[in-house]
């Protein structure tokens, strides 16, 4: 028998297998077409811009494009002795062009990032270059200022030749490339970013711990109480959850101020003296208290939804088999709630690590996080490439946490309320 006769045919004579595959493909395309509008929209407005951030963070074309001839001439320079006349002549040509376009100021700012001391010597060069004679530019430029005769400064210029640089990432970790081209840390007292990264991790970690410790008992209570009571208590969790973040931050600003209610209460019970009210806001304490309360619902809701599914008879069985309530809780109940704990902790930690508004309002100088620094560079210094670099460092941290969580617990266990 030939294989063709074995095949099952549909009524129109096409083999069933082919026909099914065709239908399957049609369904696939149909499903994909439904998702396509949103997917395209997000790719254009969201995914590409994040890629754009990556590009901006390493982009260093500015100097490359300002001194094209210089860098071309420098290709054969070994960087040991001062460059030869050809490099000087090319540099002069590039520089005159920049002065014509009034862009030499930008060059001096950029080169000053690489090495201090460029600002003044570029200003001087601009003034003197007007009276330069043709030929022998090396002598003429070197006579403008003794730094122009210093090989270190020419090496600094050469370091700006590549179109891409990782220096913004190094800056985000308080490191830089020194004159010898080695990666070193900045001086101890100028390591502001490392302090911020560590503080961000510390605050996010402790806020997560506090949220867990506070959420576990109330989620348990909500899950075990009869419906009519638990629904009422659930409002205490859901109302803050739905209330504006700024409203909740405002209420903490009122509570924690020096003449505020919390301080009044402490004075009232004699814990602190009236003239010695502690500063509870504009420092880390403010960030801790406000962030814990604001993020607490994100811990309670996943815990609650997991605990709700645990049958009370399991605890009774544990007790009837001779365990004390504590043993039954620890050996039976607690392990069953781990998916909820994982989801809650992940959610709170990731929200906390990127927090911006609340620390900016109640954190003061010692309670701000890395997000505040990113916003500062976006809005005040306008160093967008640095803001992008730090944003991507934060993002990669968040993605690592997700990846770890996915390995340990599984991302499917996340529930929204």
């Amino acid at each position: 028998m030939s294989s063709e006769t074995k095949q099952i045919l549909t009524t129109d004579g096409i083999p069933l297998e082919v026909s099914l595959k065709k239908a399957e493909r049609k369904n696939k395309i149909k499903a994909f077409l439904l998702v396509a509008p949103l997917l395209l929209f997000l790719i254009i407005t969201y995914v590409f811009p994040i890629g754009d951030m990556l590009f901006r963070s390493v982009d260093d074309k500015m100097v490359t494009q300002m001194l094209p001839k210089t860098f071309k001439a420098m290709e054969n320079w070994d960087g040991q002795e001062l460059p030869d006349e050809k490099v000087f002549a090319a540099f002069h040509e590039d520089f005159i062009k920049l002065v014509e376009d009034k862009r030499e100021g930008k060059l001096s700012t950029q080169l000053n990032y690489t090495k201090n001391g460029f600002k003044s010597i570029i200003k001087k060069l601009r003034r003197k270059s007007k009276s330069f004679e043709e030929g022998n530019y090396k002598e003429q430029i070197m006579s403008v200022h003794k730094r122009w005769a210093d090989v270190e400064y020419w090496r600094a210029i050469q370091r700006r030749a590549p179109e891409f640089t990782g220096q913004k990432y190094l800056k985000g970790m308080d490191m830089y490339v020194n004159e010898e081209g080695k990666i070193v840390s900045v001086e101890e007292d100028r390591r502001i970013h490392r302090v911020l990264w560590l503080r961000t991790l510390e605050i996010a970690f402790f806020v997560t711990v506090f949220c867990f410790l506070m959420a576990y008992p109330i989620a348990h209570l909500l899950a075990t109480l009869p419906m009519k009571y638990s629904n009422l208590l659930m409002i205490c969790v859901l109302l803050p959850f739905w209330t504006s973040l700024l409203v909740r931050t405002a209420s903490w600003m009122i509570l924690l101020q020096q003449q505020g209610i919390v301080n009044d209460f402490f004075v009232g019970i004699g814990l602190v003296a009236d003239d010695n009210r502690p500063e509870m806001m504009y420092n880390k304490t403010g960030s801790y208290v406000a962030m814990t309360q604001i993020l607490l619902p994100f811990m309670v809701l996943p815990l609650y939804s997991v605990m709700k599914t645990i049958s009370p008879s399991l605890m009774r069985a544990g007790k009837s088999l001779g365990g004390t309530p504590f043993v039954a809780f620890w050996k039976v109940y607690f392990p069953l709630t781990i998916p909820g704990i994982g989801a809650g902790c992940l959610l709170v930690f990731i929200l906390a690590i990127g927090y911006y508004i609340t620390p900016a309002l109640v954190g003061g100088a010692s309670g701000t996080l890395i997000s505040n620094q990113i916003a500062f560079h976006m809005k005040s210094t306008l160093d967008w490439s640095f803001a992008s670099a730090m944003g991507l460092m934060l993002l990669s941290g968040v993605l690592v946490i997700y990846w770890l969580y996915n390995k340990l617990v599984g991302i499917d266990n996340i529930k929204l309320g």
């Binding site: 399957e24 994909f32 951030m53 504006s244 009122i254 990127g354 900016a360 976006m378």
Partner: protein
């Protein structure tokens, strides 16, 4: 939670400690919201309870700050409220349409690369807001949409769709697909089937996703801070500026209104959730 009569004393004590802890946590969660109410009726300009208020003297209370909120000459709350509502409504409509259609595709068992696509679709919810803000700002600046309502609406659609996708996918997970096949076998075209059969059944999920999207937009400040010009100011932006400069009682009046709004949204969301569970036959 009555304890059985045979409970040993030390477990009884432990149980009361547990209840006290729970009470304290609930107090910590909800009490800060209630501070705002009385203080917004303060007759004076301070943000703490005056002696008159502690005595419940009627003269210590007034509607002064509410009047200031509505009629105050220099107060931008009117414009901010108008902008906030316009932006939130359009952002919600956009998120609901895009999100629901995408959720329908994602729930199909024929969907290829489901995990990867889902990850992209909900990524705006996972990525810290400050990073989304920077990225969206770069896009809007390039597209010439910075400091426009359109730009902010688009940004809020990005942030709002993940909630719609998640809630509608969850609703569809309990959806009995034989009803749509039944409709098709009776000669209904797909659009008609969706409007007459699917949509009414998943409506609670769609609306609660829409509520999430609305609240996200209405309360969003990080991205708007990057995008908004003077003309596009919103309520959160005004609150943010007000809280940074000085806490005025007018902000508390606004905050009280916002709490009332969120209570309404909470009630709606809860009713919808219960209705949805009833419709899907989940009895919890």
């Amino acid at each position: 939670m009555a304890l059985p009569k045979y409970t040993e004393p030390h477990y009884r004590i432990w149980h009361y400690i547990y209840l006290t802890i729970c009470g304290a946590v609930f107090f910590f969660l909800i009490a800060p919201l209630f501070v705002i109410f009385p203080l917004s009726f303060n007759a004076e300009e301070f943000l703490s309870f005056s002696d008159g208020m502690k005595r419940l003297d009627p003269d210590a209370f007034s509607l002064r700050w509410y009047k200031d909120m509505v009629y105050g000459t220099k107060n931008p709350w009117g414009l901010a409220a108008k902008n906030s509502f316009i932006i939130a409504i359009f952002a919600t409509i956009g998120s609901v349409i895009l999100g629901t259609i995408a959720a329908l595709g994602l729930s199909s068992r024929h969907m290829p690369y489901k995990g990867l696509i889902m990850a992209v679709l909900i990524s705006p919810m996972i990525v810290p807001l400050i990073i989304s803000g920077v990225a969206i700002f770069f896009f809007m600046a390039k597209a010439g949409l910075a400091a426009t309502h359109t730009g902010i609406v688009l940004a809020h659609i990005i942030l709002g769709t993940p909630f719609v996708v998640i809630t509608v996918t969850a609703t569809l997970s309990g959806f009995d697909h034989s009803v749509t096949r039944a409709a098709a076998s009776l000669g209904s075209d797909p659009v008609n089937t969706f409007m007459k059969i699917t949509l009414p059944l998943i409506l609670p999920g769609v609306i609660s996703g829409g509520l999430f999207a609305f609240v996200t937009s209405f309360d969003e400040v990080v991205v708007v801070l990057f995008l908004a010009g003077l003309e596009n100011t919103t309520i959160p932006i005004q609150m943010w500026t007000g809280l940074r400069e000085q806490l005025s009682p007018t902000i508390l009046a606004v905050a009280t209104c916002l709490i009332i709004l969120s209570t309404l949204i909470l009630v709606t969301a809860e009713l919808l959730r219960r209705r949805s569970e009833r419709l899907r036959g989940i009895n919890r």
